[in-house]
């Protein structure tokens, strides 16, 4: 059995459009009963049966971790994407039975922190919603700075401002408002931890600014799930299972292995956790490494690949699967 694939059978209890781009989904356990408790920052992997294709996307849990009656997630529609978010928006309806994974947390709070400073961009707000629930129950000290495109696309901005008065700061791009990161970081008490979730550029900006200002690496936390990139189809030979697998243009290598019945471990499916790391036995061609896991030396070494997001172009690729 693959790691991280302990499954939960759930029923969609509510589908609620939040704005033009974001829809919220509520899951309850099929047949009743409690769902597992989780920690703020955790995600679940949602399985989608899209015809012959099984899509597996990771979404942050945004509900109160102490509420074992239901999980909620919010999905931003990505029209350029490979179809997972579109499936959620167009095909998932109330009453539908689905399968999701047990909660997995790759973005947990550092509970030693004297203060938690949260920086969110767009749909990156969702893990913070669960974390703020958790911290407010524990009388934790936190502050959220949330950057949105416009007021109407500011998912949950209004309710969060109301729920946590004085702790939530909203910045609207269309009004030229922006987080003054340097000033913000300069004025934090000792023992503050910074968390960022949002677009790639925002994450790099926060890490870069904090590092330049002398913040310890361990005090800055981020989460970014990559969507697998599309690319040219390629062929891979799996030495252990003795199978030849074709990877389609809009399919990830991991998805192709799964479709061929090859057991490949995974957790985040977004190039972050390292679980699916696969040894390369031989190759003639070029790797397209897109993950955050392998070091630059490993990427250059040609001995490892992260099949959840990375691809290959060339004549032959032989994997230890």
């Amino acid at each position: 059995m693959s790691a991280g694939t302990a499954k939960l059978n759930v029923t969609v209890a509510e589908v609620k459009p939040i704005n033009d781009l974001v829809t919220r989904f509520k899951f309850v356990r099929t047949g009743g009963g409690d769902l597992p408790t989780f920690s703020g920052g955790a995600h679940t992997v949602v399985e989608m049966q899209d015809g012959d294709i099984t899509r597996l996307n990771a979404y942050s849990l945004m509900s109160n971790p102490a509420d074992r009656g239901a999980y909620t997630i919010s999905v931003r529609r990505d029209d350029q994407g490979r179809g997972g978010s579109k499936f959620m928006h167009t095909r998932v309806i109330e009453g539908m039975e689905m399968v999701i994974s047990n909660p997995v947390n790759l973005f947990s709070l550092d509970l030693r922190a004297k203060k938690h400073l949260m920086l969110a961009g767009g749909i990156g707000i969702t893990p913070f919603m669960a974390q703020m629930h958790q911290l407010s129950m524990m009388d934790g000290h936190f502050e959220l700075h949330y950057s949105v495109r416009t007021a109407s696309l500011g998912t949950y901005a209004k309710e969060l401002s109301e729920r946590y008065p004085g702790k939530v700061h909203i910045y609207h791009d269309d009004q030229n408002e922006a987080i003054d990161l340097k000033t913000l970081l300069a004025n934090q008490p000792l023992g503050t931890h910074v968390y960022v979730c949002g677009p790639k550029g925002m994450i790099e900006w926060v890490h870069g600014t904090a590092e330049a200002m002398g913040w310890p690496r361990e005090a800055v936390h981020s989460e970014e799930f990559l969507a697998p990139a599309s690319g040219k189809p390629f062929e891979v030979k799996c030495a252990v299972s003795n199978k030849i697998v074709q990877v389609g243009e809009h399919q990830s290598l991991l998805e192709a292995l799964e479709a061929a019945g090859i057991d490949a471990p995974y957790l985040c499916r977004g190039g972050a956790c390292g679980q699916c790391e696969t040894n390369v036995i031989g190759y003639d061609g070029k790797f397209l490494h897109y993950d955050h896991w392998l070091t630059d030396e490993q990427k250059a070494g040609g001995k490892h690949i992260m099949p959840c997001v990375s691809r290959f172009e060339g004549k032959t690729l032989v994997l230890d699967r």
């Binding site: 790691a3 920690s39 997995v104 509970l111 030693r112 361990e218």
Partner: protein, 348 residues
């Protein structure tokens, strides 16, 4: 099953004994005739009814006496139980994990009644009936981790997960194979394993850490580890080495069968849901050589394993001086015939 609890000691007069039942279910750790380190992890799922692998937290005939011994160790040395401030939530996770599992798996011994956050916990073997508020420390006589681990066999390390590492930030450690919580508290995975020989070169710890960081909710894992102990001592701590270290010199061929014990640790690993910490219970099982060789396969195999063990390992495990005598004694029980694969006795 109703367990008959022994009234026995793990110090002084050493009245600890294993019944026939306890011998048959002993977790013999060698699946073949030799031993080397490996990341020998498997899912901690219920396996082989009656064995120590059947329940989430095994309770056996030594339970009540082991808890008395723990209380004595803590009275003498309170630093055996420590929890850094950020680990309290993990302590509550552990309270929930153990109470739910024991009430579900041993309904004749333990009961848990929940009314929202108001919980009533009944522990019949220890005569405890407490009502408290979950997540409110002021309603328990001890911190949450200490409260529940004073009622659960085995040592417990609570490991915080951050910076792609695990940190020994809380624990209850009174039945240990010569390591110290007070020394290790606050250390990361590589720091507290620094004294272990050979395994670093073998890359064992890098692989083991990677495995542990990825343990997920609902998917606990387990492994066995082992060492040797002269006399059935639970507390073989560095703090008390001056008391037990010299006992190793009392071993003779005549008293080997009753004094020398194989000490096996059933180590399990669980992801804790609220804190995202890992809990690492280390449950100690002791068996005298005399009892062990009543299972012919185990006697033959133990002789071969101890005889052929690399010197560094026998030194690290603390029995290098006694090894020749142990091998001589065990050789009486090895007729040279082949042993079957796996850890279980042949008659099963």
């Amino acid at each position: 099953m109703t367990i008959q609890f022994n009234d026995e000691t793990f110090r002084g007069d050493f009245t600890f004994r294993n019944s026939e039942w306890a011998i048959k279910r002993f977790p013999f750790p060698f699946h073949e005739d030799s031993y080397m380190y490996s990341v020998n992890m498997e899912p901690h799922t219920s396996y082989r009814p009656g064995s120590v692998f059947e329940r989430t937290f095994d309770v056996d005939e030594h339970y009540v006496s082991e808890m008395k011994d723990r209380a004595q160790v803590l009275a003498d040395d309170p630093l055996r139980c420590q929890s850094l401030p950020h680990m309290t939530l993990a302590g509550w996770d552990l309270v929930e994990l153990i109470m739910e599992a024991k009430a579900r798996e041993y309904p004749d011994l333990f009961e848990l009644h929940k009314n929202g956050n108001r919980w009533r916990w009944v522990n019949k073997p220890l005569g405890i009936d407490d009502t408290f508020t979950f997540l409110d420390e002021s309603t328990l006589p001890y911190g949450p981790m200490e409260y529940i681990t004073r009622q659960t066999q085995g040592d417990f390390a609570l490991l915080d997960q951050r910076d792609d590492n695990l940190w020994m930030d809380a624990g209850m450690v009174t039945t240990q194979a010569d390591w110290s919580l007070d020394f290790d508290i606050g250390m990361n995975f590589f720091e507290w394993h620094a004294p272990v020989p050979k395994a670093h070169e073998m890359g064992i710890f890098v692989r083991a850490l990677k495995f542990l960081l990825n343990i997920q909710q609902g998917q606990p894992a387990r492994r066995l580890n082992w060492t040797m102990t002269v006399n059935p001592l639970l507390d073989t701590s560095p703090e008390n080495y001056h008391k037990w270290g010299e006992m190793k010199q009392d071993l003779t061929l005549e008293n080997m069968g009753s004094k020398q014990h194989l000490r096996v640790e059933l180590q399990t690993f669980f992801r804790l849901p609220r804190s995202n910490a890992l809990v690492f219970p280390i449950r100690c099982y002791l068996i005298s050589f005399g009892d062990l060789v009543t299972v012919p396969k185990w006697g033959r195999r133990l002789h071969r394993v101890i005889r052929d063990l690399p010197e560094e390992l026998a030194t690290y495990k603390g029995f290098i001086d006694n090894r020749p005598m142990m091998v001589e004694w065990l050789s009486q029980y090895d007729d040279g015939s082949p042993t079957s694969d796996g850890i279980w006795p042949d008659d099963d």
